[in-house]
Amino acid sequence: MKNYILLIQRWHKKFGIFAALFVICIVISGIAINHSEELELNKKFIKTEWLLDFYQINPVSEPVAYNVDGSWATQVGKRVYFNNIEISNNVEKLVGIISNNEIYTIAYDGQLTIITKDGELIEHLTGAAGVPAGMREIGQDENGDIVIKAAHGYYHVDTNELEWKEYEYLEAIWSVASAIPTELYDNLLQQYRGSGLTIERLLIDIHSGRFVGSWGVYFVDLIAILMLFLSCTGVWMWWQRL
């Protein structure tokens, strides 16, 4: 019996030392995740390049860019930028950009975003303001007025008064995609990567073991079983000494 107790004690010590390092890590990450909202960990982004590379934070598709008067509307992944300013992070398809007296109108996903040359957001117009579903192209007629080609027809638009006149056909100079300058794309890519991985996501992956892939999850399971073993043997040894 004495040998048996000594054996348990020996393994309790060994397992305890082995598990301690990982338990500390799991405890710290667990507490941080528990208070993620207060600490705003879901809004703080990781900028470390090797971590971003490790997570493969890169857009899955090629950028789509439209240029008007030297200003750019660019879609990188699901994010849309006006020059260097992000205007939306949940876009399926950028349609184009037009300008009128240094006021820019960007069309995407049934929405129009109106923005000044300096990047001050004037407003977002949606279906409630009359923006038609299935926008395919945005352009300007000979007077510089906005023309939209949508799934069910052509529209002449006054975004100031929200007047939408529907036509069967309208001539316009349409916004067309063009090759994005390398410097701008590098800048946008940096922004895109810099807003792709939150501290909360990293902590959750560390906590669950997913940080090192599926084997990491099994490893955390092993640590959990070790903790169970330590708890049982600890109580058992204490009971033997009573």
């Binding site: 909202e37 879901n42 992070n89 949940n90 109106i114 001050e120 957001l121 004037i122 407003e123 977002h124 117009l125 949606t126 279906g127 409630a128 303001a129 929200l162």
Partner: protein
């Protein structure tokens, strides 16, 4: 064995049905306006958000307005507002109807997050009915939280306060 199979299928169905309810357009903004104004919505009006008003809204309501022009609908009897506020990561589009300085109706129109969608249900949104603003710009009642949807609840509460505040602002103007 048959019992296990039935329970597994039921669990999967429950999971799939709740998951499919999460994101989406619950009510088209146009339909919301038609409902709010009995099929006859007025033309929209413009509210220009000055720097002072923006700062006032930020300090009093904790709401960041990123645009300088907001649209609202006013038929003289009531006003309707379509506003957005981020819950956790993405904006929740909400429609608010204000009549006699009180909320007549609040609807979640578009929900883009993967969690917290329970705020769309009337059992939650009905809490805002007849709510108005106190002198300290707080709602005159407590809004019960929904476990697991705290950020969505906070976002809708902010939007409700903003709609009431803006409604008072346009009446004063």
């Amino acid at each position: 064995m048959l019992k296990v199979l039935v329970i597994t299928i039921l669990c999967n169905l429950i999971f799939l049905s709740t998951h499919s309810q999460a994101k989406g357009v619950y009510l088209e903004p146009k339909e919301f306006l038609e409902q709010a104004f009995a099929e006859n919505p007025p033309n929209s009006k413009k509210l220009w958000i000055s720097k002072e008003l923006k700062a006032q809204i930020k300090s009093m309501l904790g709401y960041d307005i990123h645009v300088v022009r907001l649209r609202y609908w006013d038929n003289g009897e009531k006003t309707a507002w379509i506003l957005e506020e981020i819950g956790r990561d993405k904006p929740i589009t909400t429609g608010v109807v204000v009549k006699d300085e009180k909320i007549e109706q609040l609807n979640v129109l578009i929900f883009r997050e993967s969690r917290g969608w329970e705020v769309k249900y009337p059992f939650f949104t009905d809490q805002f009915k007849q709510a108005n603003l106190t002198k300290k710009n707080q709602l005159d009642r407590n809004i019960d939280n929904i476990s697991g949807a705290t950020l969505s609840v906070n976002a809708l509460t902010k939007v409700a306060k903003l709609a009431l505040f803006l409604n008072t602002h346009i009446k004063i103007d």
